[in-house]
């Protein structure tokens, strides 16, 4: 027994020509306009500092690095690699690598993600020059990923020494 496909029915458009053309054009405009919808994001890297709140809470001297990613539209989360650099014997070396860290967008301000728990206990309170740096990506619900990076601009003295890695 042979099967007959209703070819004419399949090929027969039910949508009027002008509307179909409009739909195609609309789709093209939406896709073609996609580059304009990529959000702008920045990464704020605060200078490494001795944390007074940590001292008040736990009586420990620690160096702290605060990071905030901010975009011009709501984000899902941000993933960063962050570290603290130190000047030792006139050389710049990594004092501590925090590894890969992720922060979900803030409930209060969904365009921002805060990294407020990066710190390391000081071995002594001798002064040394430190700089914070981080790089990574901001992720959005629509699958778009935006790279971000930043540093605390210049090495500044902090009364804290760490065991360099």
């Amino acid at each position: 027994m042979s099967i007959t496909f209703p070819v004419k029915q399949i090929l027969k458009f039910k949508v009027p020509g002008v509307l179909a053309l409009g739909l195609v054009l609309g789709q093209f405009l939406m896709t073609g306009n996609q580059s304009n919808t990529i959000p702008n994001c920045t990464l704020e890297v605060e200078r490494p500092h001795t944390s007074t709140s940590l001292y008040e809470k736990r009586k420990i001297n620690a160096i702290k690095l605060n990071l905030v990613s901010e975009c011009d539209s709501p984000q899902r989360f941000t993933t960063l690699q962050a570290d603290i650099q130190i000047i030792k014997n006139d050389n710049q070396i990594t004092a501590h690598d925090f590894g890969s860290i992720t922060a979900k967008s803030s409930k209060k301000n969904p365009s921002k993600a805060y990294f407020l728990d990066l710190f390391l206990e000081c071995k002594s309170s001798e002064t040394a020059l430190y700089l914070g740096q981080a790089s990574g990506n901001v992720y959005f619900d629509n699958g778009v990923t935006v790279p971000v990076s930043g540093n605390s601009i210049k090495f500044l003295p902090v009364d804290c020494t760490l065991g360099a890695k």
Binding site: S53, R76, T79, F98, I101, T102, K112, F115
Partner: protein
């Protein structure tokens, strides 16, 4: 208040080293209850637990476990925080789930500490991207073999000893 109870109040003031030690501590001290909860999750597909001021909601579907978390008494769960593929061998699944539970509890207690701790009101749920149960954590994403070597060289930290003792 012993050191573990103190850790439940510290939230964002917990260091990375303390979080790793807490993971190891929870994995051993709560092993029996984790195993019971793991079997329940495999059987029923959902499981809820509480730690510090956080509620954790686990889901198991198509051999993948995931968790979401919220502060106790808050209204909604955000999207999944971590996921783990379990494979098809149940014995290994229970073991993997125990590690997943310990990781989830460390993530949650460090973001939702017991009330009384001052936490920045405008903050994010933050966590280490590579979980402690993944050997890549110890090599900072540079491979499991390197991670294994680093892990084998590590001795129990003073923090872990303090957790087990006090």
């Amino acid at each position: 208040m012993n050191f573990y109870e103190e850790c439940l109040t510290l939230g964002q003031y917990l260091s990375q080293e303390e979080k790793v030690s807490l993971y190891q501590y929870l994995l051993t001290s709560k092993r029996n209850s984790y195993e019971i909860e793991a079997r329940k999750l495999l059987r029923e597909g959902v499981h809820t637990s509480f730690i510090a001021n956080g509620e954790i909601n686990y889901r198991f579907s198509k051999n993948v476990v995931s968790y979401t978390s919220r502060e106790i008494d808050s209204l909604e769960f955000p999207s999944a925080i971590r996921e783990l593929y379990l494979g098809k061998v149940q014995f290994r699944s229970v073991d993997k789930l125990c590690r997943f539970f310990a990781q989830a509890e460390v993530d949650v207690l460090s973001n939702f500490p017991l009330p009384g701790t001052h936490q920045n009101p405008d903050r994010s749920f933050s966590f280490n991207t590579i979980p402690y149960y993944d050997l890549n954590y110890y090599s900072n994403g540079k491979g499991k073999l390197r991670g294994l070597l680093v892990k084998l060289r590590k001795v129990d930290s003073e923090i872990l000893i303090k957790l087990r003792t006090f």
